[in-house]
């Protein structure tokens, strides 16, 4: 994600071939979330850029919204932090009123409400993932523009374009937790290798009934691919 950068949106109208690419280059990041039986695995890179300067090379883009609900942030750092704070507050209040753990879908809906209402002003692509007792592990994606949809696996950010092919070919339903962790780490590594706006370390988290387990894979421990 980038910090308070003025960008020109009129590149959209000029050259059809490049519209997709300029759109994605502002969502600097690679984020990913995968559902498995009993929970979700989420992951992100750790780079925040202001133009070509890496403002933070160890960013934590996996933000807790509630005990077992996290969001992965991509797009403008300021916008996503503000939205996440607002949703954390709203969800906390809702949870106290209900006197039970909130649903992941509720958190996703709150994100969607805000992202859609203020879509002209915001630049935020968010993946909401977590576990609740009613529906187990769930991943909801709320991309720029404010739509919301549930998907078994979701990727986001500028680096995500490079790994659609990899994710489509390697995802299988019914993977175990370890397989999901490996899948996520490998996909993020491939994206970080190709996308200039993604890099640093890979941050992973597993959310399940037991709680949240976080891990970090450092640069030299990332999986290696045999590209000659």
């Amino acid at each position: 994600m980038f910090i308070s950068q003025n960008f020109e949106m009129d590149s959209f109208s000029q050259n059809p071939e490049f519209t997709i690419h300029s759109f994605f280059t502002f969502l600097d990041t690679t984020i990913m979330a995968v559902e498995f039986e009993g929970g979700v695995v989420i992951g992100a890179d750790s780079r925040t850029t202001t133009g070509a300067y890496i403002a933070n090379r160890v960013t934590d883009k996996l933000t807790p919204i509630h005990e077992r609900i996290f969001c992965c942030r991509s797009g403008s750092a300021a916008d996503t932090q503000a939205i996440a704070d607002a949703v954390t507050y709203q969800l906390g209040f809702h949870s106290i009123e209900l006197d039970e753990a909130p649903l992941v879908q509720t958190a996703a809906s709150l994100f969607r409400e805000m992202c859609y209402r203020y879509r002209e002003e915001l630049m935020a692509g968010i993946i909401v993932a977590g576990w609740d007792p009613r529906r187990g592990g769930q991943v909801y994606t709320v991309p720029v523009g404010g739509m919301m949809t549930r998907q078994p696996v979701s990727v986001g950010g500028s680096g995500s374009s490079y790994i659609y092919g990899y994710v489509d070919s390697n995802y299988r339903a019914g993977m175990s937790k370890e397989e999901c962790l490996k899948f996520t780490a490998e996909a993020l590594t491939l994206a970080m290798e190709r996308d200039g706006s993604s890099g640093g370390v890979v941050r992973l988290a597993v959310i399940s009934e037991q709680g949240v387990e976080r891990q970090v894979i450092l640069g030299n421990q990332l999986p290696k691919f045999s590209t000659v």
């Binding site: 071939e17 659609y164 092919g165 990899y166 070919s169 339903a173 190709r194």
Partner: protein, 218 residues
């Protein structure tokens, strides 16, 4: 008033591009080239069965991407120049020669042209070779991908490519890569054309839509 009711279809004014996926891979003994078949003008598909793998010589093919007109013209010119270069000699041209001719045109006219050709083939000297000529550079690579759809399969090809694959494995690799890219890129689609070149010559194949491999979300 009538112009607003029936606006001119955009495909009349939009530039025709082969927003595309192209790929070429070396294997032990030759190369495999692959492409999709969609040609778009803005949002219209003006040709859904275009073969973007164009022969430059018996055992040298190039894969076209970018502006359809520019790419086709470069291929035609290089076809001619290669014949001149061979003259009356009986030897087959080197892949490197064909790639250099493409590169020369791409570089000299880089401001006016917007096409990227991948040149691949087999010759007696160095066997199977793949050259990328994007923007006027010349780079020999074990494999190369190009076109708008190629962005989506960067991760896939990085992870799945292995040196010294067999001919069969390379063909499967190319078809899988094309299918994944066509699944995600709106400007790529249709059928997959695959050309395999080895010392015995070039073999062209077309994999129809319903024969393409299926991935988890289908």
């Amino acid at each position: 008033m009538s112009e607003e009711l029936f606006p001119e279809p955009e495909w009349l004014s939009e530039e025709v591009k082969t927003g595309t996926t192209i790929i070429a891979v070396t294997f032990d003994g030759g190369v495999v080239l692959g492409s999709d078949s969609r040609v778009s003008a803005g949002e219209s598909v003006v040709n859904r069965v275009m073969n973007k793998l164009s022969p430059l010589h018996d055992k040298i093919y190039c894969a076209l991407s970018g502006s359809a007109a520019d790419a086709q013209t470069i291929a035609e010119i290089v076809n001619y120049q290669l014949d001149v270069h061979i003259g009356h000699s009986e030897d087959d041209p080197l892949v490197c020669s064909a790639a250099t001719l493409v590169k020369n045109i791409s570089y000299k006219y880089k401001e006016e042209l917007s096409a990227h050709l991948i040149v691949a083939g087999w010759d007696r000297k160095k066997g199977g070779q793949v050259y990328a000529t994007l923007n006027g550079l010349l780079s020999r690579q074990p494999f190369a991908i190009g076109g708008s759809g190629s962005f989506y399969i960067n991760g896939f090809v990085d992870a799945e490519y292995r040196k010294n694959m067999t001919k069969r494995e390379s063909q499967e690799f190319v078809v899988n890569a094309l299918t994944l890219a066509m699944g995600r890129d709106g400007s790529s689609g249709g059928v997959a054309y695959v050309v395999t070149i080895d010392k015995d010559g070039a073999e062209e194949k077309c994999v129809l839509g319903n024969e393409l491999p299926k991935f988890f979300d289908e």
